[in-house]
């Protein structure tokens, strides 16, 4: 049985892949530091309607240990590109009901411009690089593996 969780947490970086509900408040608390003036959080949520089709369930498959390593790599790369004080990258796997979070990415920087840029880069790059796949289950019972733009 392949690993279903990944967790590395230091004082400055928290990376986790887990089948459990993601805790935005814990992410926010982790990111708070007297050094940072701006925290930007991105929360990805299971949407009920996509192009008019109703989704009843999203399920995420992941190559968990590599996904965790890639997310750590993204955190380091973000910290090289922007003055990031703290970052968290949390991704849920398995079933994610509508309106629950599949991903929580957060960045704390001294100034807001860097925090926005780094958080946006993290989600864009995660969606292109991290080995996680989304399967939609539609209201008509059909399922589909969503393919990203690479």
């Amino acid at each position: 049985m392949a690993a279903r969780t990944f967790l590395r947490r230091t004082d400055t970086t928290w990376v986790q892949v887990t089948p459990e509900v993601l805790d935005t408040a814990a992410a926010d608390a982790f990111l708070r530091t007297g050094q940072a003036g701006g925290v930007v959080l991105f929360v990805g949520i299971t949407r009920r309607f996509t192009h008019g089709r109703e989704t009843v369930k999203l399920s995420y498959d992941a190559y968990v240990p590599m996904a965790g390593q890639e997310m750590r790599r993204l955190a380091s790369e973000a910290a090289q590109r922007w003055p990031v004080h703290r970052a968290c990258l949390l991704h849920r796997v398995g079933a994610v009901p509508v309106a629950e979070a599949s991903v929580v990415l957060g960045v704390a920087c001294a100034h807001r411009a860097a925090a926005f840029a780094a958080c946006r880069w993290l989600i864009d790059t995660l969606k292109a690089q991290v080995p996680i796949w989304k399967q939609e289950t539609y209201a008509d019972g059909s399922t589909e593996w969503v393919e990203g733009q690479g």
Binding site: A2, V103, L126, K127, V130, P131, W133, W145
Partner: protein, 97 residues
């Protein structure tokens, strides 16, 4: 002059390289297995492995142009060599987030 005999005899063929191939999402579903054991003839590379898989599994062939490969949990180029026991993952376009 005579060639030394040992050098002119055929060299013993190198052992094929046995690797563990992991499948996810659409490939796992279409091939019907989460993992494959594959022997890749020497000199083994990612490209050589893909050639074998493509011939053996039509779903691999149909995703070949967009497929990325990870060796031991890191993305690898097609020229990358393979070593016995490597963990190789076939990565179709990802859609996390």
């Amino acid at each position: 002059m005579t060639d030394p005999a040992p050098r002119s005899s055929p060299r013993p063929a190198a052992e094929p390289v046995a690797v563990h191939v992991l499948l996810f999402s659409v490939l796992r579903e279409n091939i019907g297995q989460p993992a494959l054991q594959v022997d890749v003839p020497h000199p083994a590379s990612v490209a050589a492995l893909l050639e074998i898989l493509e011939a053996r599994y039509p779903p691999v062939a149909s995703y070949r142009s967009v497929l990325r490969v990870a060796v031991n949990q890191a993305y690898a180029e097609e020229e990358a060599p393979l070593t016995a026991g490597d963990e190789v993952a076939l990565i179709t376009p990802v859609s996390g987030g």
